[in-house]
C-alpha cells in the first residue's frame, strides 16, 4: 500500500455547508457548516469588533461581527455566528451557524464565501446523515429530523417532533412486544415439548394475536396518508367552468392564509404550486398557473392531462355558479371527480339563485357542499372548515397522535402488514404453528427495521424471563 506508516482515515468527514433556512423572504437566514474545519474556515472570514478568534472561544456561544471576503477585503454581511464545538452538537462535529439577513442574495453570498474558503456544498440530508453515522441519532430519529426540515406547517412539525421523541418507536415497540410474547410461547412449546404448564400456542390463539397486530398496523397506516400529506401538502386542484370564480377562490385562500412558499417544480414553469396552511392542513394548490392564465384547466391542458392531474390530487374543489343552471360541462366535471375527495363550492350566492340545489346534492353524494360569495368574502371560513374536517376525519385534531409520515416507514409497515397477513392466511389454512411462526418472526423483524432494532437475542431473553424451564 502506498500510504504505509501513516494512519489514513478513510471516512474522513470533510467540512460541509448549506443554507439551512427555507428559500424565500425572511428576516434572517442561516448558513450552517459542519466538520473538522468549520471553525477555521469561519475564522478566516469573520471579524468581530474585538477581533476575537472563534477558535479560542468557548463552545455554544454567539458572536456578533462581519464577514469579510479575504481576497477583496470587502465586507460581505453583518452576521451573528453561533459556535458549537464537537461533540455536543447535532452532527457530533464542530458546527458553525452563520445568521445573516434574509433574502436569497445575502444568504447566497455568504454560502459562496464559505465554499470558496474550503467547505463543500452539503448534499440533501447530509447533516443528518453525519449525525446518524456519528451515532448521535438512531435511524428513525434521523428520518424524523429529515422530515422536520422538510415539513411545511406547524402541525407537520409536531408529527416530526413526536416521532423524534420516540412516539412511533414506542408504538412499534408495543407491537413488537406483543409479537415476541407470542413467539416466545411458540418457541417454548418447541424447545420444551414436555414442559407442562405453558399454554400450547394454538392456531386460534395465533390467529387472535396476529389479527390484533394487523389491525394495529392498519391503524398506523391509515395515519400514514395524513402524515404524508402533512409533509408534502394536500395536493389540491380547483376546477370549474370559466367565470365561476376559481381565481377568486384561489386568491382568497392565499390571502387569508399566508403563503408558505412558492415552489417551482421541475425545470419547466409548467406547473406552479402554492403552499398554504389552512387550519393546520398544508394545501398544495396544484397547477394554479393554469387556472390563472386560462381559467379552465380542462380546456387548456386537454382532457387526458387534466384527468391525470385530477387523479393525482388529494382534494378537488369543484366550483359551481349559483346564479346559473347546471350545465353539461358541470355534469362532466362531476363525472370526472366521482370517487374522489371533493368539496363542492357553490359560488356567487350574492346573485339570485338559479342552480338546482337538490340536484347538486344528489351529484355530490357524500361530498361536502359549501356556499360562498367570494365577492362579499362570505363562506370562506366554512370552506376552510370543510377542508380541515375532511382531512382530520374522525376528530384527529387532538395533538396526541402519532402519524407515520416517512416513506421508508410506510413501505416497511406495508411489508409488515403483508407478512402478518401471510401468517393469518396460513393459520386459517391449518399450516403448523412453527411454520406460521416464520412469518410472525419476519413481521417482528420488519417492525424492528423501522426503529433500527432487530436483535435476535431478544427472543431468547424473553423465553427465559417468561418461563421456568428445565428439561
Amino acid at each position: 500500500m502506498c500510504n504505509q506508516g501513516r494512519k489514513v482515515n478513510y471516512v474522513h468527514f470533510d467540512t460541509i455547508a448549506a443554507i439551512s433556512t427555507p428559500m424565500g423572504e425572511g428576516a434572517i437566514a442561516i448558513v450552517r457548516l459542519s466538520g473538522d474545519e468549520a471553525v477555521q474556515i469561519t475564522d478566516r472570514i469573520f471579524r468581530s469588533p474585538s477581533n476575537k478568534r472563534l477558535n479560542e472561544e468557548r463552545s455554544h456561544t454567539i458572536h456578533y461581527g462581519h464577514l469579510i471576503d479575504p481576497t477583496t477585503s470587502e465586507t460581505v454581511e453583518e452576521v451573528m455566528v453561533s459556535l458549537m464545538k464537537a461533540p455536543k452538537t447535532f452532527t457530533r462535529e464542530d458546527v458553525i451557524e452563520i445568521n445573516c439577513h434574509g433574502g436569497i442574495v445575502a444568504v447566497t453570498r455568504v454560502l459562496k464565501l464559505v465554499l470558496k474558503e474550503g467547505a463543500r456544498l452539503a448534499e440533501p440530508g447530509e447533516f443528518t446523515k453525519r449525525a446518524f453515522l456519528n451515532g448521535r441519532v438512531d435511524l428513525s430519529q434521523a428520518e424524523a429530523v429529515m422530515d422536520l426540515i422538510r415539513s411545511k406547517t406547524d402541525r407537520a412539525m409536531d408529527v416530526a417532533l413526536n416521532q423524534m421523541e420516540g412516539k412511533l418507536s414506542r408504538l412499534i415497540g408495543a407491537l413488537r412486544q406483543a409479537l415476541i410474547e407470542t413467539l416466545a410461547q411458540v418457541e417454548v412449546n418447541i424447545d420444551y415439548p414436555e414442559y407442562d404448564d405453558v399454554e400450547e400456542m394454538t392456531i386460534p390463539l395465533m390467529i387472535e394475536k396476529s389479527t390484533w397486530v394487523r389491525n394495529e398496523i392498519d391503524k398506523l397506516l391509515r395515519t400514514s396518508s395524513q402524515g404524508k400529506i402533512l409533509r408534502e401538502g394536500l395536493s389540491t386542484v380547483i376546477i370549474g367552468r370559466p367565470n365561476v370564480g376559481k381565481s377568486s377562490l384561489l386568491n382568497s385562500i392565499i390571502q387569508e392564509n399566508k403563503a408558505i412558499v412558492t415552489d417551482i417544480a421541475g425545470t419547466t414553469r409548467d406547473i406552479i404550486e402554492e403552499y398554504v396552511n389552512v387550519r393546520g392542513v398544508p394545501l398544495r394548490l396544484v397547477d394554479t398557473a393554469g387556472i390563472r392564465e386560462t381559467e379552465d384547466i380542462v380546456e387548456r391542458i386537454g382532457v387526458e392531462r387534466s384527468r391525470k392531474v385530477l387523479r393525482e390530487a388529494d382534494l378537488i374543489l369543484l366550483v359551481l355558479n349559483s346564479s346559473e343552471e347546471l350545465s353539461i360541462e358541470d355534469e362532466r366535471l362531476f363525472e370526472a371527480v366521482s370517487g374522489m375527495d371533493t368539496i363542492i363550492v357553490i359560488n356567487k350566492t350574492d346573485l339570485p339563485q338559479k342552480i338546482d340545489l337538490p340536484k347538486v346534492m344528489e351529484y355530490a353524494g357524500t361530498g361536502k357542499v359549501v356556499t360562498t360569495s367570494l365577492l362579499k368574502d362570505e363562506g370562506v371560513d366554512e370552506l376552510e372548515e370543510a377542508i380541515a374536517g375532511l382531512f382530520f376525519e374522525g376528530n384527529l385534531e387532538s395533538g396526541d397522535f402519532t402519524y407515520v409520515s416517512n416513506a421508508r416507514h410506510i413501505a416497511l409497515l406495508h411489508n409488515a402488514r403483508a407478512t402478518i397477513e401471510n401468517a393469518l392466511a396460513a393459520a386459517e389454512a391449518g399450516v403448523p404453528v412453527d411454520m406460521i411462526q416464520i412469518d410472525v418472526t419476519r413481521t417482528w423483524e420488519i417492525l424492528g427495521e423501522i426503529i433500527g432494532d432487530t436483535v435476535q437475542d431478544g427472543l431468547i431473553n424473553e423465553l427465559f424471563s417468561q418461563f421456568c424451564l428445565g428439561k
Binding site: 482515515n9 478513510y10 418457541e187 414436555e194 391449518g430 427472543l459
Partner: protein
Amino acid sequence: MPKFEAGTFDVIVIGAGHAGVEAALSAAKMGATTLVLTMNLDMIAFMPCNPSLGGPAKGIVVREIDALGGAMGKVIDKTHIQMRMLNTGKGPAVRALRAQADKVLYQQEMKRLLEEQENLTLHQGVVEELIVEDNEVKGLVTQVGAVYRAKTVIITTGTFLRGEVIIGDLKYSSGPNNQMPSIKLADNIRELGFDMVRFKTGTPPRVNSRTIDYSKTEIQPGDDTAWAFSYETTEFITDQLPCWLTYTTPRTHELINENLHLSPMYSGMIKGKGPRYCPSIEDKIVRFADKSRHQIFLEPEGRNTKEVYVQGLSTSLPEHVQKQLIASVPGLENAEMMRAGYAIEYDAIVPTQLWPTLETKRIRNLYTAGQLNGTSGYEEAAGQGIMAGINAASRALGKEERVLGRADAYIGVLIDDLVTKGTSEPYRLLTSRAEYRLLLRHDNADMRLTELGYEIGLVSEERHDAHVIKKQQIDEEIARLRKISIKPDNHTQEIIRETGGSELREPMKAADLLKRPEIKYSQIERIVPPAEKVSAEVKEQVEIFIKYEGYIEKSMQQVEKMKKLEDKKIPENIDYDAISGIATEAKSVLNEVRPLSIAQASRISGVNPADISILLVYIEQGRIAKISG
C-alpha cells in the same frame, strides 16, 4: 521430574469426553496420526449429568454429526434404553429425536470405537503444560514428564479446569463425579494469556429404583416406532425401558424456602454464572414463586443398574436437605438417595478468542472444543469436537479448513454464536437460535452434510453412493408430482373425502394437491403411484419439500441476502482504532472478535447498524484506494 520424549503425532486431543472422542475419531479417520490423552480411561464419553441425548435442536446436532461421519448417533442407537420423537404434532422443522442412554453401555461402546480406530492412540495421562514457541503450539508435557510433540493440539477438558464441587457449605477441588480436577493445565492456559470465565452447572441426586413407588407416578414409555439417529443404523432396539413423571409438592417448596440460607447459590459461595435453561430447584422456586408445582422425571441410568436420575431436582443444598426434598415428592417418599446432587464451578475459555475453525487466535495450531468453550450439553460438545478434529487434522495434513455456516447446520449456528457473540452463561442450543431452522431440519441433516463428510474423508464410499441415489430419487419424484395431473375421478374423490378435504372440481397437478394441509404423500401415492417403490425417507423429503416449498424458498432468499454480507470480507489487518466514527464500545468488541466478514460483524452485540455502515464505507474506500494507489 525428568522429562522424556514419548512420541510425535499430527493431532493430540486432551480429554476424552464427548468433544474429545469426536475430535479424535474424525482426525484419525482423515488420516492424521492422533493421540488421545485422558486422565481416566474408564471415563471415556461419560455422562456426568442426565442419561439422555437429543431433544429439540440437540437431536438435530446428533444427526448432523452422523451425516458428517461422526460417532455419537451410531453409539446411542446401539446403547439406548428408550427413544421418542418429540414435537410430532408440529411442523417438520422442529421434530426432534431424544434417547435415554444406558450410560455404561454408551461409554463402553465409545471406548471400543476409539480402541479399534486406526491411526488413533489412546493413553491415560494427565497433561500439565503445553509447549508453545512463537505463539505456536508444538506439543505438551504430562504429569510423569512425558513430552509429546504434535502439529496441532485440541483441548477438550470440559468442566475439569479448576473444577470445584459444592454441596451446602462444603466445597472441594474436584472434576465432575469426584474425578480428579485439572489444576496445572488450567494455570498453564491462564499463563498463556487466555481470558477465562467462571461458570457453574449442577446435577440432581440419584435414587435407587427398588425404593421408588412407581404407582404414584405416570409412566412415560418410548415410542413404538423404531427410531435411529444414524443414517447407517439398520438394527433397532425393541426392548425399551420407561421413564416416569411425578411432581414437586407444596412441602418441597416449603423445604426450599426454609433452607434457602443453606444454599451456596444464595449464600454467595457460588460466584460462577449458571445456565438459565437448566435451573436448580432452588432457582425455579425462588424465581417462579407463583408456580405451584414443577415436573420431576425419573430416568433410569441404564439396564444393569438400579440408579435413577431425578430430572428436575438439580440442587446444591446440603445432603440432609436433599433427602427431605426427595421424600416430599410423590413416589419418592421412601426412596434411598444413592448420590447427592451438587453444583460444580469450573473455568471456561472466553470463546470470542477463537476463530470459527475453533483454533485459538492467540496460539496457532491450538484448538479448543466442548464445554471448555462455554457450552453445556453432550451434543453441543460433540458438535464442536468433530469440527475441531476436522480442522486440526486438516491443518496437520495441509488440507482446507472447514467452517459450517448458520444456514448449513445447527453446529454452524452454535460455533458462530460462540466465536461472534461469546456467552455469559453456559450456552445451550435452542431451535430459536437458528434463524433458518426450516432449512436445518432433523430429516434433512444427511442432505445438508453428507457431501461435506465425504469430501473430508469421514463418510464411506458406500454411504455416499446411497446418499446420491436418495437425492436423485427425491428430485425425480418431485419432478414427477409437478408434472403429473390428477383427474377428478371417483377413486380420487374418495381418497380426498377420506381426508375431509374438498373434492376436486377440475384436474390438478399432484404437487398442488399435496400442498393442501390435509393431504399427505400417502394419499397422493394411492392416486398416482410411482413406477418404482419409493423409500420412506424419500417420501418424507418429497412431502416436506412440496408442502412447505413457499416457506423454504422464503428462507433461502434470506440466506442469499445474508450471504452477500458474508461475502464482504473484512481485511485481516484492519485497524479499527483508525476508523473514526465507529463507537468506542464497538471498536473494542471488533478488536476482540476480529470478525471475518461484515455479516459476522453485524451479529456482534455492541456493534450497531451505524458502525456497520461506517465499516462498509471504510472497506469500500480502502478497496478503491488500493486500486487507485
